[in-house]
Symmetry: D2
Subunit: 351 residues, 4 copies
Amino acid sequence: MTDHARARIAIVGATGYTGSELVRILTAHPRVEIAAITSRGRAGERFSAIHPAFAGICDQTLVTVDDLPDGLDAILLALPHGASMDFVATQGPDGPPIIDLSGDFRLPDADQYATWYGQEHRARERLAGAVFGLPELFRDRITGARLVANPGCYPTASILALAPLLRRGLVEPTGLVIDAKSGVTGAGATAKATTHFPSLFGDFRAYGLRGHRHTPEIEAALAEVAGHEVQALFTPHLLPVDRGILATCYARPAATRATGLDDATIAAAYAEDHADEPFLRWTAGPPSIKAVRGSNYCDVHATWDDRTGLVIALAAIDNLVKGAAGQAVQNLNLVCGWPETTGLTQGPLNP
Amino acid sequence: MTDHARARIAIVGATGYTGSELVRILTAHPRVEIAAITSRGRAGERFSAIHPAFAGICDQTLVTVDDLPDGLDAILLALPHGASMDFVATQGPDGPPIIDLSGDFRLPDADQYATWYGQEHRARERLAGAVFGLPELFRDRITGARLVANPGCYPTASILALAPLLRRGLVEPTGLVIDAKSGVTGAGATAKATTHFPSLFGDFRAYGLRGHRHTPEIEAALAEVAGHEVQALFTPHLLPVDRGILATCYARPAATRATGLDDATIAAAYAEDHADEPFLRWTAGPPSIKAVRGSNYCDVHATWDDRTGLVIALAAIDNLVKGAAGQAVQNLNLVCGWPETTGLTQGPLNP
Amino acid sequence: MTDHARARIAIVGATGYTGSELVRILTAHPRVEIAAITSRGRAGERFSAIHPAFAGICDQTLVTVDDLPDGLDAILLALPHGASMDFVATQGPDGPPIIDLSGDFRLPDADQYATWYGQEHRARERLAGAVFGLPELFRDRITGARLVANPGCYPTASILALAPLLRRGLVEPTGLVIDAKSGVTGAGATAKATTHFPSLFGDFRAYGLRGHRHTPEIEAALAEVAGHEVQALFTPHLLPVDRGILATCYARPAATRATGLDDATIAAAYAEDHADEPFLRWTAGPPSIKAVRGSNYCDVHATWDDRTGLVIALAAIDNLVKGAAGQAVQNLNLVCGWPETTGLTQGPLNP
Amino acid sequence: MTDHARARIAIVGATGYTGSELVRILTAHPRVEIAAITSRGRAGERFSAIHPAFAGICDQTLVTVDDLPDGLDAILLALPHGASMDFVATQGPDGPPIIDLSGDFRLPDADQYATWYGQEHRARERLAGAVFGLPELFRDRITGARLVANPGCYPTASILALAPLLRRGLVEPTGLVIDAKSGVTGAGATAKATTHFPSLFGDFRAYGLRGHRHTPEIEAALAEVAGHEVQALFTPHLLPVDRGILATCYARPAATRATGLDDATIAAAYAEDHADEPFLRWTAGPPSIKAVRGSNYCDVHATWDDRTGLVIALAAIDNLVKGAAGQAVQNLNLVCGWPETTGLTQGPLNP
C-alpha cells in the first residue's frame, strides 16, 4: 500500500474506548504499524477477545508495559488520568514522543491539576514541556513535541466553537456559557449504575454542575487564543446516544462594539480561521452530531441574535474521534512529519 | 367509581399527539365523560382506528365539529394554531369554557401574534379575555376563565425554571439564556424528512436559532412575574427520544446584589414557590426527563456558580403531559372547580 | 375514593424494577394500602431515595423483612429467585397469601427446578400448592390460592400467543419455535458490562441460546392447556429499548389436518379465548410493543402461511407490567376477590 | 495513493441511502474515480447539498442520466426497483458492466418477478444474463459478468446463515423459518408515517407477514446451493436502530440423519465455507449487529439444540454495507479484477 517503511507505534491501554478507537483508526493508517498494545489486567489475551468487533482486524496479543518493544517511533497513551503521568514519569525525555489521551498534561499548572483532579501531579518535570495538542490552534508547537496532551472531548468542541470570536476580541471573555451534551461513550467503558441501559434509554439530564474538570482546560486554551483570561460556565449533559458531542456556546459582544455584532462579521472570522483546516467545516445551519459520526470533522456554526445581543456558537464532534483518538492520530501525524490527514480521511457514518 | 355526575367534555382534534394524550388522561379521569371527539379529516372512524394503542380504551366514533353535542361542560382544543382561533371565533362567549392547547391565545397582543405566527389574528375579540393557563403562576385567573390558553411545552419548563428567581429580583431580567432540549413528539405527529427515524437516531442538534415562537410567550409570562420586561435567548434542540423537555437556563445575579447569590437563598426561593404545589418537585441534583415521563410533574433544580457568578436553573417535564395535555386537564380541573390533581396522579413510567 | 377499607399489602424487595413497578401500580390502586416495603440492603432509606422518580408518590421508609407488620392481607415478593423460596420457607401456610414474582414456584417439579436454576429447591413443601398465576389460563385456581407463582415475562407472551392453537389441537405440540425479543429491563436493575449503554445502543443480538430457564415454564403451562407434552425451542434476543417483549412463534398445523389451516379458523380460536378477557387484544396486523407500554395488555395476532404451511403467532406485552408487576396485581385482585381489572386500567403510554 | 490509473465509475441515483453509502465507500476506494453521480429530481445540485454529512468529501454536482459521460468502466445503480430495469433496458449489452442494487434482476424468472413485485419485467432480454451477486456463493460467475444483481439485505444475511447447512444436506430444505430483524434504513430514505421517529422510538414489531418479496430471492439462491428446491417462511421485523440486520434461522436436521446433528459437525461445515472468505466471521456466541456496523462483515454462528432437535443459525450484517453498498463494491472489485477487499477494509464503528 505504501513505499514508506511504517513507523512503529505502541498503544498503551487497550480495554477502554479510546484504546479501541485508536486501533480502529491505526489499523487503516498507511504509515503506521501497531508494534504493541498493552493492558495491565488482560495481557496475554488477544485484542479481539476484549473487543470482538475487531476479530480479523486486530488479533494482536496484549502485553504489559514492561514488554514494550524497543525502537518505538511514538507511544499513544490511552490510560485513565493518574496512570498516564505515572507511565510518563518512567520514561526519559529522550524516549519516543508520547501522545497522552488522558487529562494529566492538559493543565499548564500542577497546582491547578491538584485542585481539579484531586491528586498531586506526579510528573511535574514533564509538565512544562507538554504541548496542548489542538492542531487547529497550536499546530506549530505540536510538530516536534516530545509530549502532547491530547485535548479532552468537551474542550475540543468548546474551544473550536469559540476561538475565532475570542481571538479577534469580538466577544467578552467573561460570562461565557457552554451548554454541552455528550454521548455515553464519553463516560468510559466501565459499566456503572448511571450508565445502565434502562436508566439512560429515553433519558436526558445535566450532570457535574459547576465542577467539571474540563472547565480549566477550556479556559486555559481560550486564554491563550484571546491573550487574556477567559471565564466560562461549562455545563455537561448526558445524551442517550453512544457517540457525539454538541457544544452550544453563548457570548456577549465585546463592550467596545457599540453596535454589537452581525452575521457577516462572524462568518468572516470563522472563514478565516477555517481556511486550510482539513477538519473544520462551517455548516449552513446548526451542526448535527450524526453528520460527523466516525469522522475527525468538527462542524461549526455561529450566529448573532440582535434581539438579545448575544452570540450563539455551536460545534459538533465525534467524542471518540476528533474528541480523542482521531485527534491523537492527527497529532501523531504532526509529530511524525506526515500529512496531517493521513489515515483520517474516512467519512462520517451517516445515517 | 364516583358519586358525582360526570362533566361532559369534548376534545376537538383527534389525530395529533395532544389529542391522543388528552384521551389517555381523560379516559382515566373520575369526573369526566368524553362526550365527543372531533376530526375534520377522519370523522366517522373510531378513535382507536387512528391510535391503535387505544383499542378497548377509547373506541368512540369521531364526529365533525358541526356535530358537537349540546350541553358540553367544557371544550379542549387540540388543533394546530390558526385552526384554533377559527374555532373559537365561531363560539359565543357564553358557550362552554374552552381550553386551547395551541398557541393562538398565548400572546397577549394581536400584533405580536402576527409577527411570530406569520398570520393575522382572527379572533381578536377573544384575545383580551384569554388567560395564560400556567396554574402555578396564574391559578386565580384560571378558575372561572372562559378561555384558557394552555402554555407551550418549552415555555412551561422555561418559566417554571426561572420564575422564582425573577419574582424576587434575584437575577437580571435581561441576558437570560434558555438552552432547551425536546423529544420528537414536540414536533408533532406528521411525518417529515426531519423526523424520519434514521435521520434522528443517534443524532442531536439545535434548530430554529433565534426565531422560535415560544420566545415571546416565555418573556411575557416571566415579565408578569417579574413586574418588568424580561429578555431571553431561547435555543431549542431536538433530542432523539419520544418525550421529554429539559430546559437549562442561565442568569446573572441582580446587579443590586453586590456579593452575588448563594445556594441557600436560591433553594429558599424555590421552596417558597413550590410549597403546596402538587406538580412541582425540587430535585437534589439535576432533574431527568425520564423521572417525569408520563406524569404531570415538573422537576426543578437551581444552583449558583460562584466562580463565574452565574445561576443555573433546570426544569424537566414530559412535553405531552405537563407541557400539553396534563396541564390542560389541570386547567380543566380549575375551571370546573375540582381538586387540581384530579385524574393526574399517575406516577412516571420509570424506567 | 372508595368506601371499602383498603387491604394491607407488603412488597418484599424494593430495589429492583419489579418492586418499583409494583409501587407504581399499587400507589394508584383504590383497594390497596402499601403497609410496608422491605429491602435487605437499604432498610431505613426512603423508597424515593432509591427511585427518585417516585418522590412525592412513595416516600415510605423501607424496613427489613423482620419488621413486616402483622395483619397483612397479602405479600408480593419482588426478590431474586432463591431469595423468594427462602422467604416463603419462613412463612407458615396460614400466613397471608403470597404472590411471588420470581421463578421459584413456577416449575411444577423440584428436580426440574434444580436442573434449570442450578440449585436445590428449599421450599419443596410449598411447591405442590403453588399455582401458576396466568389468569387467562388458570383463573379458577388463582382465586383462593395461598401461593401464586407469577409467570415470567417471556412465558406470559409466549403462552398467550400459542395457547388458543394448542388448546384446540390445531398445531403440532412439538417443533414449536419461539423467537422472542425483550427490552433491557428484563435483564434487571443491576448494571453489568452487557447492559452498559454504549454496548447496547444501536445493537441487537440473541443470547442464552438453548438454555434459557423460561423454556420449561412455557412448556409446562402449554402442556396443561394442550393436554399432552409440548416441546418448544425458545430463543431470546435483547432489544435496545427499556420495556417490551415481542414473541414471534412458529408452529406446524396438526398432522391430522390434511388441508392445513386457514385464517378464519385461527381467528375464531383466538376470538373465543379472548372473549371476556379484559387484557387480551386481538390486533388487525402484527402487534407492537409500544402499543402496550405501561399497560397490562397483551396484544396478539396470528396467521397462516399457506405457502409453507406454517402458522405465525405473535404476542406483545410490557415485560414489567403484564410480564411482571401488572400481572401480579391482576393475581392479587383475584386472590382478594376484587374485580380483576382494579388498578390496572391505565392505558398505554403511546407514543 | 496508487500508481494505477483509477477506473471511472458512475453512481446512478444519489438521493437514497444506498447511493449515499456507495459514495461513502467509493470516495475512499483507491482504484476508483467517481466520474458521475446522477439524480433525476436534483440534478444541478451538489451531492453534499442533499447529504450534508459529505461536505468536503463529495461536493460533485449531480447530473441526469442523459449526461452520463462516455468511457465509464462500470455503473452502479442505486435506483428503486422498476427504475433500474428501465435504465438497464436503455443500455446495450456492450456497455460498461452494471451492478444493480435494486431487486429487478435478482429473481431468475420474469413471471416470478411479476408476482412478487407487482409489475411486468421490462428488461427480460437482460434477465437471463444477470448474475446474483453474492460473492461467497457465486464468485466465479461474477467475475466477468455484464450485469450483477446485488442481493437484497435480508437475503444476504439469511443465505449466508443457512448455506453451509443446505449445501451439505445437513438440514431439511423445507419448513425453514427465518425470523429477521432490520434497522430502519432498510425502509429507505423517504419519510413515511410508519418511520416517523416518535412511532418507532421504543417500538418493535413484525411487518409484511407472509408476503415479503425477499422470500423468493432467498429460496432461489439457497436452492442453487442445495441442488433442489428450498422453502422458507421469512418474517421481517423493524428494529428501532438505524443500521443492522440480524437473521435468526431455524431448521430441522435432514431426515436421513437418524441421530440428528451436533455442534462439531455444524462448526466444521461453516469453517470449511468460511475458509479464505475475507468478510465472513464465525463468532463464538450469537453475533451482534453493532459488531459489524459500518463494515462489510457478515458475522455468523450456528448451534444444535438436542432437546428439540432443531438447528439455530444466525447472521448479522450492516444492511447498508454487506447488505447493499459494500457488497456492490465487492462485486465491482470482482468485475474489475481487483482484490476483492479493495476499499472495504474499514473496521466496524464500535461502539
